[in-house]
Each structure stands twice: as structure tokens, then as C-alpha cells.
């Protein structure tokens, strides 16, 4: 291989590397990264809700923008063309955890009202319910 060809090859490799880094940077925290990253905090739907109901500011400090894994009971599943929303709620509570999934990334089989699930997603805060986005369904332990 001539010297010139080696230079070109190295240049192309560097270019690909930069392109990949930019792509990674732009799309970081996307669904794929939630899939590959370990949850920073593990909790139950009831517990995170209780923390938000008691003290929203400190709960936000603990959970906001973090990948949180919750275990809970499915109350309802709502679908539209782009997304699926799974609502976790215990029967004795008025509020719960709303989990939003990308339409493409979710296998709906096994999701029915009353079933127990484990979900990880990025915590977006609290209105009446705790809100998790970019969710991923995990196998129940």
C-alpha cells in the first residue's frame, strides 16, 4: 500500500469516528441509551408517588432527569399512532405513575390491566401522577 493510500484510509477512519461521536452526542439520552444504561434508582410505583406527594422539591432533586426503574401494577394501556402510555396505579391510591413509550420500541404482549411490570424510564416530574418518559419494559423478576 502506498503512503498516500494509508493517509487517506486514516483520514476516512478519523472522519467516521467524528461522525459517530457527533451522532452519539446528538442522540444521547435517546431510547437506545435508556435500554443500554442501568437504572440509577430502583423503586416501586407506590414509593416514588408517596415521595412526590410528601415533598415534591426533594423528590425532584432525587429523581428528575434520572433513569428510574419502577415496579408496579398496570391499570390501563393507551395507544396512539406514535406512542403508548402505560398507567401504573395501585387500587387503593388515587394517583400513580404514567409511563410513556415509543410506539416502535414496545412489545405489547403481556401488558394487561392488573399485571405486574418493571419499567425503566427518565423521570420528568410530577403533576397528579409521576411522569416517566422514554420508557423501556423490563422482564419481571
Amino acid at each position: 500500500m502506498s503512503k498516500k493510500a494509508t493517509y487517506i484510509l486514516v483520514f476516512i477512519l478519523i472522519a467516521i469516528g467524528i461522525a459517530f461521536a457527533v451522532w452519539k452526542y446528538t442522540f444521547r439520552k435517546s431510547v437506545t441509551s435508556v435500554i443500554s444504561k442501568k437504572a440509577e434508582i430502583e423503586t416501586t410505583a407506590a414509593a416514588i408517588l408517596l415521595e412526590y406527594e410528601t415533598d415534591e422539591a426533594s423528590a425532584n432533586f432525587k429523581y428528575l432527569d434520572k433513569i428510574v426503574e419502577v415496579t408496579g401494577t398496570v391499570e390501563s394501556v393507551k395507544e396512539d399512532s406514535l406512542s403508548v402510555t402505560v398507567y401504573l396505579k395501585e387500587s387503593d391510591s388515587v394517583a400513580g405513575v404514567i409511563c410513556s413509550f415509543d410506539r416502535a420500541s414496545l412489545d405489547l404482549s403481556g401488558l394487561s390491566s392488573g399485571s405486574g411490570v418493571r419499567i425503566k424510564g427518565i423521570c420528568a416530574g410530577y403533576l397528579i401522577d409521576v411522569v416517566l418518559n422514554k420508557c423501556v419494559l423490563l422482564p419481571v423478576m
Binding site: Y25, T26, F27, R28, K29, S30, E56, N60, L64, D65, K78, D80, L82, S83, T85, Y87, V94, I98, S100, A124, G125, Y126, L127, I128, D129, V131, N133, K134
Partner: protein, 181 residues
């Protein structure tokens, strides 16, 4: 403090909700910005809305951070540079249906609704009037509407570098399906 009050009001509304109010916990709001350089779209599927069919009172509440963009970087800029969602995490609308006499929640049909009230974005509150539709079908109620929001009206500063990336007028569409609480 304001948030506490808001929450209290919301909770109080929940108490009254026993007296036949419609509640939607996963309403959908989409906004669309069309600009020369790019089109930007974001969705929020966790909009809370309460509708009182007796008085026409209508309220919407949402978390700014619950808006999802295709690109994570856009979402980051939206939250950190434009909406300052750490400082102002919520956005709300509180208003009334002004032509309540033309809408029957008892009878199936599609009704045109006129709503006016106060819209709060980025801690700035402005009066707005919106035309939308309310569909009553077999006991379920769905509301939908479109409105135009200018970032400038809500003190959202857009640097001149990205002037051509973000529309001056942003189209916001919402739909919410209510269940009787």
C-alpha cells in the same frame, strides 16, 4: 409556593370531582415549528386536564420536561435554553367554555367549543381565546383544539443564530379523552 397553591387547587378539584367532573390524565399536546432550516415537532402524552360540564370550567396542566423530541439535543436546548424548565417546570391553562349552552354532554355529537382563559408558559400568563371541538360519543368526551403561540409573547428568547431554525409562531395542537371521575 405558586406550585404548592396550584397543587392544592388541583387536589381540591379532585375532591370536588366526585360531583361529576371529567378528568384526562394522558392528554396529548403536540407542537410544531416550521422554519426555513428545519421543522421541529415535540409531543407530550401526559397532559392532565379537568373539565366541569356543569360550569364549563376547563384546566390543563403539563410538565415541560415531558415534551419529547426526536433528537435528544433539541430536547436539551428546549429545556435548558428556551423554557428554563428547571426554574419553570410546569405550564398551565385555566379557562372557561364560553358557549356552554351549545354543548350537550348528555347527547352524542360533535360540538364547536369556544374557550377563553389564561395560558401560562415560562412563568408568563396571557389571556387566550381558542376554538376547538368537543366530541361526545357513548359517554366518553374528547376535546381537541389548535392554537398559535409566539415564543416572544412568553419572554422566550431565541438567539439570532438559530432564528431561522425556530418559527416565530408555533402551532400547538391538543387532544384529550376524558373519563368521568
Amino acid at each position: 409556593m405558586k406550585i404548592k397553591i396550584l397543587l392544592f387547587v388541583l387536589l381540591a378539584m379532585f375532591q370536588f370531582a366526585q360531583a361529576q367532573k371529567y378528568v384526562s390524565k394522558n392528554g396529548h399536546i403536540k407542537f410544531f415549528s416550521h422554519a426555513p432550516v428545519e421543522d421541529i415537532e415535540a409531543h407530550n402524552n401526559q397532559v392532565v386536564s379537568i373539565l366541569d360540564p356543569a360550569t364549563g370550567d376547563l384546566a390543563f396542566n403539563l410538565l415541560i420536561k415531558a415534551f419529547e423530541f426526536k433528537k435528544a439535543l433539541m430536547q436539551e436546548h428546549f429545556n435548558e435554553n428556551y423554557m428554563e424548565s428547571d426554574k419553570y417546570p410546569k405550564s398551565s391553562f385555566k379557562g372557561k367554555i364560553t358557549n356552554l349552552d351549545k354543548i350537550s354532554f348528555e347527547q352524542d355529537g360533535v360540538y364547536k367549543a369556544e374557550v377563553s382563559g389564561d395560558l401560562t408558559i415560562h412563568n408568563v400568563t396571557k389571556p387566550v381565546t381558542v376554538k376547538g371541538t368537543i366530541e361526545v360519543k357513548g359517554g366518553s368526551v374528547t376535546a381537541s383544539a389548535k392554537l398559535i403561540v409566539s415564543p416572544k409573547d412568553y419572554d422566550i428568547a431565541i438567539p439570532s443564530v438559530v432564528e431561522n431554525n425556530i418559527a416565530k409562531e408555533i402551532e400547538v395542537s391538543l387532544d384529550a379523552t376524558y373519563t368521568v371521575n
